[in-house]
């Protein structure tokens, strides 16, 4: 009996349609994995990059060179233990004219011009962060070689532990992004395409219960969500050693409530749109601010305080932040921020469904 219910048949049809389109499977499952892998390797923890600088040839140049070589030699000796904040310095010797030309054309961030014994001029563009860093590093090396004694003692603790690296930050972000993409494409775009193909009209002309129709789409959406979540978590845990400190069930719950919120937004977008152009425009209008502001790739706290309330109200911000808290910090459901995220996501889901079902044009 269940097998012949409209709900079950529509659900099966939706699964079949998805599974039979390999391109779609790649974009939904393969692409985020690829993105995570590429970004994970690109932003992998590495020893700090060596500092580049040019040395203008002339009197005193040799002393400078010697001081830097001594610094580099000390670094390679202590390779086993982190050597402190100063990385290797690569010094290129050029004639003064050539060195200044290289600075002007951006091929070197810093030119060191010796001005007699124990006196140097630095030329650089202070708006380039690597230029000020290079100036600082070279100056420290030269001053110490000239006999500077640092009066205070400092200790550097370098953090490269799993759980605080970029990849750990990124994976919850991508999980959230996929929940958003799935809701908007899998519900919004899908429904508008049914309308364009006049299939929606064809369904409505039959005694098909509309709640079964929408229920089947939602059920399919949640079904597709699970492999998606699983693949990204597995990649994080097995591929990059990402820890999952919190409860896996809470991660699933957050992802499901988030997916429902985005399904509601998708339904709202699809409620009136009758062309591919309209729905694409609406989807970009909804997705762009969240791509930019919700802290998927970079922390949303960098944005000005004025727009923080807006950013916090976006469903993707709440989903991604709560996922990070549970996965990386081990937050439980009792934690206020997690409860608040669940509340905001549920409010989005209920609000958009309520509005969409009132606006939805069936025929």
């Amino acid at each position: 009996m269940l097998r012949n219910s409209p709900f079950f048949q529509l659900y099966l049809a939706r699964l079949r349609e998805f599974v039979r389109q390999p391109a779609r499977i790649f974009w939904v499952y393969g692409f985020p994995l690829l993105l995570a892998t590429v970004l994970g390797f690109a932003f992998q923890s590495r020893p700090p990059a060596p500092i580049q600088a040019d040395l203008a040839d002339g009197p005193g140049a040799e002393e400078v060179q010697r001081a830097v070589e001594a610094h580099n030699a000390r670094l390679s000796e202590s390779m086993a233990t982190p050597a402190g904040p100063l990385p290797t310095i690569h010094l290129a010797v050029h004639s003064p004219e050539e060195a200044l030309k290289r600075l002007k054309t951006g091929r070197t961030p810093l030119v060191v011009i010796p001005e007699g014994a124990q006196s140097w001029t630095y030329r650089y563009d202070p708006t380039r962060p690597e230029a000020t860093a290079a100036r600082q590093a070279v100056d420290d090396v030269l001053q110490e070689a000239a006999g500077r004694i640092n009066p205070g003692t400092t200790r550097d603790v370098l953090v490269t532990e799993p759980g605080s690296r970029y990849i750990d930050f990124l994976i919850p972000g991508l999980i959230g992004l996929n929940a958003m993409g799935g809701g908007l494409w899998g519900v919004g775009f899908f429904l508008v395409n049914l309308r364009i193909a006049k299939l929606l009209k064809c369904y409505v002309a039959t005694p098909m219960p509309r709640r079964d129709f929408l229920g089947a789409i939602l059920a399919a959406r949640l079904t597709f969500l699970m492999p998606d979540l699983g693949a990204l978590l597995l990649l994080g845990v097995l591929g990059f050693g990402m820890p999952i400190h919190g409860s896996l069930w809470l991660v699933v719950l957050l992802d499901v409530v988030g997916a429902l919120a985005f399904a509601g937004i998708g339904l709202l977008i699809a409620s009136r749109a009758a062309t591919t152009e309209t729905v694409s425009g609406l989807m970009n209008l909804v997705m762009m601010p969240m791509w930019l502001l919700s802290g998927v790739f970079f922390s949303s706290e960098r944005f000005p305080a004025v727009i923080q309330p807006l950013i916090q109200a976006l469903p993707l911000t709440q989903l991604v932040n709560a996922l990070r808290m549970v996965i990386l910090e081990g937050a439980g459901i009792g934690q206020f921020e997690v409860l608040m995220a669940l509340g905001i996501l549920a409010a989005w889901a209920v609000g958009t469904f309520w509005l969409a079902l009132r606006l939805f044009k069936w025929s």
Binding site: N4, S5, P6, F8, Q9, L10, L12, A13, R16, E17, R20, Q21, I196, A197, K198, L199, K201, C202, Y203, V204, A205, T206, P207, M208, S363
Partner: protein, 341 residues
Amino acid sequence: MAVPAIRVKDLRKQYPGRDGPVHAVNGVDLEIRRGECFGLLGPNGAGKTTTVEILEGLKRPTSGEVEVLGLRWEDDPAAIREQIGVTLQETRFPDKETVRELLTVFRSFYRQGVTVDEAIQRVSLESKANALIEQLSGGQQQRLAVAVGLIGDPEILFLDEPTTGLDPQSRRQLWDVVLELRERGRTVVLTTHYMDEAQRLCDRVAIIDYGKIIAMGSPAELIARLGGDHVIEFAVGGVDTPLNPEILAGLDSVLSARADADGYSLTAGEPHRAIPALLDALEDLGRPLLRLTTRHVSLEDVFVSLTGRHLREDADAEANGHGNGRGGRWRRRRRSRSAAG
């Protein structure tokens, strides 16, 4: 069966338009009997599809009454939907479903109906039952759309322009499906702008133009209203002055005469008397005959005599060298409107 399949009273549908409301349906009265095949005929944009979609419950009328099998859409939409089948114009079914899968999904919506296999067999798609929809030809997809309409074993089947754009063989296959359904005593309501289709399939037709029914009856009745059974079409050469239609209408056995875009057309009872008379008249006038054809009167002629326009205006305008079809169509519309008003 006292209750008719469909009863419509003073049906109106208005859309907001750029220059005031557009009356897509402008006061239609209809009664379709059970077991008949009823055709709604008219050019594109005449209001056929709007009328049918109101009957199918897909659109709400602005005003007027609609009863389907004695039920009203406002009172019991679910009960009506159980008893009707709908084939829409140009539905695009999902590419990656098979014929059988799609019909299984649609079968699940109805409490009663035929089996999936029977629906497939009725539209002769047995060999394609397990093929993906993207592998079907246009005609096969259209037959699948009809099978979707038949799956609930409906009392009334609606077909909206079922053969538009199909090749002649596919059209005939679809006609067979409809004829079989009519034999089984089911009601069929179809819209078309093909006259031969209506003549072949329909017990009765209503001709719609500008949202109004301008003629209704069996195809034979409507043709009989023209008087003659035959149409003689001809063109003449020589000086550029047009022939006087009154002289032509006075010829032996000729019932009416009309100037066409590229010649003249006469309705005649007996061509073997009309044609010699015509040839004599042309010889007297000194006009050489360039072309002469005769054929049986069709519903197309009924439509032309009622409206002064051809049904398939696009094709017509092109055939007459009036540049692109759309431009020709616009000019014609404008002209006939101002003539009417």
